[in-house]
Symmetry: D2
């Protein structure tokens, strides 16, 4: 039901964050929270804790359940406050020094920070900071925030942080730890998610509510767009350094990124997905189809919604092999010719001779869709119809999602009719943008003041793309080429 | 949809086998086939190939996709004939020398064999063989077969093999390789599965049809109970060394072990599971329930069948975290108290205030069921009803399935009413044994001559349990204690 | 003949450095040079190279021959300029980010630096730098130099470096790379060694001449105390930013640290060691001894010198097991009682019934000496006399040598007579400080202006110990506790 | 002083063995003993122990200090009796199943055996055994012994062993464990060494006395040629199953294989080596030479003996880098041209302008000798004279030593004069065969009944070379090609 760790024909969330203040097992809770947020990043994880005197850090390549499974690791991460981070692998290799949370000894003391999102003026700020004598240890844009704080003329830590926040642009949900407090921030548009929870007397910050559930914490509320939350021994304090701004939450979180059992901004992700499926069934019905088949695993809720609304039987007509995502056999020409099915297999008993509606959440490059349709046809389907539970993905994201460049997006290069031919289906439909908005409870998209960030569908970017626009800023971030030590 | 690699409250298949004769990429095909059969064994895999002159072997701990991912490994396994084996981990540790296929230089040449199943007179035979001077290199019962062949007085290889088969008792589906031929055997009752497939001019043997699908091979037929198949350059030859016997195929393969996209003895596994769910809905309806929720992932097909037959909405009310199966945090008392939900999370949006029917395929010890029910209740379910898509599992298996000893089986210790209380549900029902037989197409169980092996439900064991009955034979298999080298 | 990698009763050099400018295989030459300098640091090694456009880095735990043995590693380290560093293991564990050369993107471009030595005002400078907004990525004092350069008000790189050098105190031999040049610096007293070599048109910097020999380079001259060498495409340039100062080279390099086949400041290290032995034989003869036995391996040259001068036969009376340095068996009481001899064994054939002179280079804690004397006595020696080829080591080093704190030095706690009793020998003598100076070619120590740094013997420290003296500066360098990722 | 682990221009001992009976820490003592015998085999080690009920085994690739350093490993190897084995690496890779001691469950109980030496009729016996139905698990010739015992018609274990010994031919020093006893055997000619020691009430068997020294055990006596020693709770029992035969101990053990601190057959190995050097000085003096320089490390004792007898100063004119033996840099043409000196460096201070006598223990292929002479000449030597402390090595060994085939031995292809030219020296001499015999205390070689096995010099092989002579027996030992699992 959750996302595959290695599906390379999907957009990918780049990070998950989690923070705890006021619990004796703070680091263990963070490890569990990160495990629940593993779908938001599988490349590497890190935890920094504070025990009233010292900070403790552990960062490891790979899944949380591997990097933090040694009981000594958690035992060493002492303290009542801890923050953690999952990182998504874009390349399969990563520098150890890029694993978050980042930590720095600043003049006021230790400071650790973890970031979900992406800044759009990193290069510009980085050039200015290096000119002032700043030395960067990572290639993450998160480090820009730390240097802005280090060089801020303000005295108080929070003032320094606000000083830094006013200079950065982009999408960010941050959790930070200064020792005696844990801090959460959402960017002025609240593009990436962040929720506040409670476990007894402890306070929790998490990217999604599923990470509250795993430790039995209760959901309190979503951190608001542009809100800065400070948790210390006196409790939770809220600041609004940007004044009031209207939220533009990432609508794709509903479509694919978030776990189906999470609630976001008050909505059940699973219910929204089912509802998108129902909208699709109304907008683009397929009345005489024999069965609705989800593309596993992410298409399942929309397919159930489609099947219910369309009154067509729902069947698991495609079975997924959970054991591995990547092809591990170097294919000879002969083997390539066989069309090896590493990930999926058609459930022939149901497909043969049937009119099949395939439901998927989105299409990025379209290569996987093509293969799946071919497999379903080989299994004997009479007709194959494709329904996509999102509008066409035609624009890259610059706010923390790993997307191909715009020209590699299928919907950028082709019309829906062309896509129908390319994928090889008898009919093809995407949900409309208004249908999508209806599924999340709006009457329709307010084109003057859109309620969500939907830039990947509409190309309307709420936050200025400074580095992207200013070609001169797009120089190499470092002239050092270093590979991670194999571990 | 497939089995979790580490669900310790399930019965487990102990092995999968695969063989290819007559293909230039024989070993690559075996690796792919083993990958498709990964659910039948995750501990270790091995492949032995033959190139007309020499045999080549590679055996590795862990998943196929890991142990065989280096292209050099496959390149070294040269030849047109190859057999492979997946092994299930009962302990997490294993001796390298126990990884199959086993290989021996016999007087007639090299011989490799891989075995799915379990012999019931291993200890007895082993004692006799050691007395004759045989030296065992593994603790697998498969090696008994090789020694019986080595010491056979017959001349021809096939005669030696038949000689050995007449001495062993138990369940076995074997694939073997003598260089110039690949051999497949199913025990006289055909307890474990084995199918024959074809890929161009090549012939394939596999535990399940899903392993034919992955390489695009076509299904020819199931190897019959008691049949010995010999594949050589002249094609496929069949022998029946045991004469005609009626088949007693393992009915639990349908319930849980096999992949849902496989066909066994002509039946779609997925359809049988749906049909068991439908039988359950007829035998033990739950008319005023609000929704049917499968226990992921194995309960899904039966839940769909139950929902359709019972006309109750089907919902994914429990979400599974695919990233890890084992608890990786050493729980302090505080953490234990939280009831950490590592594997599953209730989808609260659907559960709250609802009458829920949970559908699972089977119950072994009941510990997982208890936790899931508790989780569903905490999520606000008004009523929780449990429906199990198999009869009560009350007897251990001695034919190749990893089961707890009989006294640890919940259904051995408790009546259905007691189980209802233990699990904490409002109502509880198992499908009847006849309902199960109906789902696989029989009118009912023929108690005089049962059509399947259902010993785990009925305690009627078709093959004599020699070692189990003869206490004197149950001595230690070796006085050597050796741990595997960490790799 | 060389130092044992793990002799924990010896002082230890903490680093070796090597640099190449103007060779197509610059990184391969650096790797070879570091291999020849392995005795100066076994914990970790790093190389940074520059190819005219980009910098390339590789750093690895363990020996050079392990961390740089993959041909791809060297192939990736492209360029005509490269510098490298060996680091000594004080604890067996180290942070990946502490492995040198350090690298930073400064406003003028990339800058890499490697350091042999130790600064004495690191804490003081670090506190000032953090207050100015500097963020440290390592706990090495080398990083102070980089931050001083980053924050310097000067424009030209060399001016910034000189600016930084004027602020640091202590012992340092640096090699640095700015891309278009490789730089070498020795501190004003020239405490640690650094030599200049030539290989065809390429120029080399190395800690010792043995690292020139391995690649067939010729020795040009020692870099002078306080000299800054700049190597670029126009050749070698020399600067003297500190004016003229008299050199105080570390005399212990002759006694133990350097490889015997190196030349330092014009002297053969091996010859100096033999000459110290000869001085010892004159100062503290042992006229009726039967044989001179070196404590292997470092005592051999002095023992040969002693034997020649004293006209006593030289014999390898103690055999060393080269295979491991550390005890690997957890001793039970029984085993402890056996007095297990992991490293050395007496050559009984020569020892029994003899009057033996043991010659060692130095004594730190005395524990190894005690055990060796006991072993020699058990082998049947009639008398055992100890001669040490250095004066008593009674003071800690703060200039880049790993020494126990002063109170743990045997010669700090005991007189020579007390040491004789403690070690258990019949007579005991150290070479005199003047004898030592004679062995390196001086008439005697010039007490008004000593020719060498001999602080470990005399307690006269040529460079101010700022951090050591100013207690307030001795705070923790970072409040972060992080362990290296196991690799 | 000891052998380099990786000198590929030397002959190599293939194994070391060690056994303990009657000590609570038997396995720890074996591990220590194997560590002291590490020079006899570096590829892999194994220990099998017995605690009165069960056997325990651990086998590991690499050095003892690595494979047995985990305290849990030793703790698991429980018991009062244990045997162990070091194996030499001929290829760098090895099958896990070839690591000794081998173990088998025989009809009389468990049996473990470790072997130093080489059988000369393995192939012949193996073919016969396979025909009888024996299945081999390894490619070691040691396993032949186990199968011969398993198939013996005798009843008592010792009788079965003697039965087996009468069928095997070749050189062997065995230690075995049957649980209640530890057994030691030397072949009828006593070609390989084996000594008996005592530690309190415990009895020890070891390849060399240096392995007694490490645990503080006392040397009792050498096991005699053809003697079978049985150690049980009643003490040490001796049998002579072959009657009396005259010993032909391997004379090369004195020259190179054994550790210099060991005693063999009553002689100090170090003293014998010095004495060979002295013989050389008398047979082939070099009167006007300036200094005697050993080729490190194995040439040192002979060089000391030569220097003393020849009254020429002894100097360490060649320094060895102990950190690695293999070239780790893939040489480009440029680098190859440099003549990189990975292992040795000339000590120029002593060499320049001098007439140098180089002393080495033996020459195999001559490649290393050539390089060393070239290096010494480059360092400025006026003359270079080579003296070899053994006769010319002109014949392969079939008794447990890793030798090149005869045609690759320099002394097989060239006369001494030709070798002098090939090596590039001004004069060249080997010790005479009679000189060698004198050094071990004989008047001369008794050509009618030689006192030692000197086949590598004389080509007179005391034990029949069955497999070598019978070409038909030299078939492949197995048709299986398997590589070890990387660990």
């Amino acid at each position: 039901m959750n996302k595959s760790p290695f599906d390379d024909d999907k957009l990918h969330e780049e990070c998950g964050v989690f923070g705890v203040f006021g619990h004796d097992d703070a680091s263990a809770l963070v490890a569990l929270g990160l495990h629940a947020l593993q779908h938001r990043g599988q490349e590497a994880s890190g935890i920094v804790s504070f025990d009233g005197e010292d900070f403790y850090a552990h960062r490891a390549q790979g899944l949380v359940g591997k990097g933090f499974s040694d009981p000594n690791v958690i035992a060493r991460l002492k303290g009542y406050a801890a923050i953690g981070h999952n990182r998504y692998s874009t390349t399969g290799e990563t520098l150890a020094r890029n694993i978050q949370p980042l930590y720095a000894d600043l003049s006021f003391g230790g400071f650790a920070v973890a970031h979900n999102g992406n800044l759009t003026n990193t290069h510009q700020l980085r050039q200015e900071l290096v000119t002032q004598g700043a030395i960067f240890q990572s290639t993450t844009d998160t480090e820009v925030i730390i240097h802005l704080m280090a060089l801020s003329k303000k005295t108080a830590i929070i003032d320094r942080l606000v000083d830094a926040l006013h200079q950065i642009k982009g999408a960010y949900s941050l959790v930070a730890c200064t020792g005696d407090r844990v801090i959460g921030v959402r960017d002025p548009y609240g593009i990436r998610p962040l929720v506040l929870g409670r476990l007894g007397d402890s306070h929790i910050l998490a990217s999604e509510t599923c990470a509250l559930d795993i430790i039995g914490a209760t959901y309190v509320r979503d951190v608001e767009a542009g809100e800065l939350i400070i948790i210390d021994k006196d409790g939770v304090h809220s600041k609004r350094p940007f004044g009031d701004k209207s939220s533009r939450f990432c609508i794709f979180e509903y479509i694919y990124f978030a776990r189906p059992d999470s609630f976001m901004e008050g909505h059940s992700v699973y219910e929204v997905r089912k509802e998108i499926g129902a909208e699709l069934a109304r907008e683009a019905p397929c009345v005489d189809a024999d069965l609705v088949v989800p593309v596993p695993d992410s298409g399942v809720p929309a397919a159930i919604g489609f099947a219910e609304a369309g009154k067509i039987p729902f069947e698991l007509g495609i079975i997924r092999n959970h054991y591995v995502g990547r092809t591990f056999i170097e294919p000879t020409d002969q083997i390539r010719h066989l069309g090896v099915k590493m990930k999926h297999n058609a459930n022939k008993a149901f497909i043969e001779g049937k009119k099949v509606v395939l439901v998927d959440d989105s299409i990025v490059r379209g290569t996987t869709s093509q293969k799946i349709v071919e497999m379903v046809r080989q299994a004997g389907a009479k007709e194959v119809h494709m329904r996509i539970a999102s509008p066409p993905t035609a624009h890259s994201c610059f706010y923390g999602i790993d997307t191909p460049s715009t020209e590699n997006l299928l919907a950028h290069r082709m019309s829906v009719d062309e896509i129908q031919d390319f994928i090889g289906v008898d009919s093809m439909a995407y949900v409309s943008i208004d249908g999508l908005y209806r599924a999340v409870g709006a009457a329709k998209r307010d084109n003057g003041a859109p309620q969500y960030c939907d830039a990947c569908f509409t190309g309307e970017y709420p936050v200025e793309l400074v580095d992207h626009t200013d070609k001169s800023a797009r120089t190499k971030i470092s002239s050092l080429n270093e590979r991670r030590q194999k571990g």
